[in-house]
Amino acid sequence: MNLVKLIEFLRLRLKTVVRVCVAALILLVAGDYFLVDKSEAHLPIEGRLPGFWALFGFLGCALIIILSKWYGHAGIMTREDYYEEPSGPGPEPGAQAQEEAAHD
């Protein structure tokens, strides 16, 4: 299939793909600095700091990953069978036991 071939083509030239992406990022920040009118900015820092939103994206991403992982490993993440009943299968093990007791 053509689509698979295209992905394969790009994967084989991963280094070039990365280089093109980096060039695009640099162009984006440079273009923002030279071409974009900053009068719409909400805070003065958005206009004064070149690449403010690029920094916002990168640091925000790092912050989200690090804080969330810290939160998860502080005890929120647990084994997959955490909610499974210790008494084994069957939808209502308790009710069954009760019924048996009633028969005795």
Binding site: I7, L25, E40, H42, G57, S68, K69, R79, E80, A101
Partner: protein, 597 residues
Amino acid sequence: MTDFWLHPSLLLLLGGALLFAMPARLKKGWLLLVPILTFARVITMAKGTYGVVPFFGTHLTFGRVDELSSVFGYIMALMCIIGTLYGLHVKESAQHAAAWAYAAGSLGAIYAGDYLVLFLFSEVMAFSSVFLVWFRRRRESLAAGYRYLLVHVAGGLALLGGMIIHCRAQESWAFVHLDVGHPTAAIYLIAASFLLNAAVPPLHAWLPDAYGEGTFNGSVFLSAFTTKTAVYALCRSLAGMDLLIYLGVAMALYGVVYAVLENDCRRLLAYHIISQVGYMVAAVGIGTQMAINGACAHAFAHILYKGLLFMGCGSVLYMTGESKFTELGGLWRKMPWTLVFTLVGGLSISAFPLFSGYVSKAMIVSAGFAEHRLWAGYLLNLASVGTFLHTGLKVPYFIWFGKNQPKKAVWDRAADPPANMLAAMLVASFLCVFIGCYTPYLYHLLPHPEVAARYHPYELYHLSQTLQILLFTGVGFFVLLKKLTPEALISLDLDWFYRMGGRAFRWFAQKPVQLADTFVGELYRTAGLVPLMLTAARAGRFDTTVIDGAVDGLADSVRSLGRRLRLVQRGQVQQSLALAFAVAAILIVAFVVYINW
């Protein structure tokens, strides 16, 4: 009333009922025809108030068609077509009927003009949607379905209580804007029920719990209707309530945090529903015309791209049987088209320029900035970093690329899904791109089109800002890729309280209560029973010989009847529920038709 007004929900309900009688060769045609007719009915309805039915001294309003209900009705009916097309090959009629009843409930709630009709149709939604979870037929889905139902019944009761108190005070059942400046306890109860349906923390845990357990196509429906119908109800009644801004921003970030930790791709998407609905809830809280436009536009775009994402991940689940990142990887060679469609969904939800999320989300953020809520604007921008990080990067990367090699059985099964599933994804993808490229299509549908027409999302500053945020999030993703490697763990959420609480209650019922019961029984036996037994022994001689013969015969027949009854009651609670529900639905429909003629 002399003129008969055809409620679009009626088409879906009747269509669903007739589906069971449909011969196999006509079924697929019927499955496509009914939602298309419903959509046609929705878009041809003129604005106005219809379906007013006298009811015990008051009246019920089934059809309030105005600017706000029209846009939500439009997208719900459209999603019903796409969702049905996606599951077209599913043979079991009951699955389609449940999905249609669910969509019918949503349309009914949207066009409802008073609280009684709203309540009725919200219950229809809760009781039909739970089947989309149960039909997966795993032990976990049964339990998740019951939890889902219990939570929604609690929400329904909050609405019922709130609306009765509120409407007695107002002497009107009309479902209109509430006095959010002076909220009463009744208004808080009503708000709580809407917020529960919109999955606002701390009332949100039902959503990932149930949507992660739904059938591959059921979750596509689930992702669209419940939360967005709640957004509609919030727009209608609570616009401008300050509290909603804080809740909305908090939930936009809450969903992002849990999405980092999640290992199941459909649960990850479910957490991102919470995050995205957060934008809409915040917009309702801001409450200006532009913000309400934003909430509606984002709900519209969200239903399409989230449906598309659930279709992509549902295809992976359907074909491979797996939905966990730790069990998947490298599927680009096997499921390339599913990758492309999921990417379109991912780019849309991340608000990439030229995709649908860009033209809707920006409206909400701009409305926040315009109202000088800078903190809300910045935090919502931070949440979009998280959205692209997970849905645009993590989902495609760890399913279709990544270092992980799935098991051989999974790898061998993997392939692009059947044609109807691909077609549904193609339609949704097209709409996502179309909305992003041609803004007047969506902006004309909004409740305040003149305000929307003045808004231009493709301004240079905003374009450059969005591209920088998103692309540098991508840089962050690849720099920190190691930290993001999925772990085969689950994350505890607030459902812990009722899951473990339920267990504690059962323990209490089994242990202390039973102990007390035994104790009282013993006391009764020694104090009362022993003397009684002595007397009884004498009477017993007469009893055994004469009466026993008759009683034993009776007891035997009662016991055998009981055994049969117990089988009905224990194994098939869902069927009984469905039956009760169907009977109620038919009665209501018959009632409405009868009164309307």
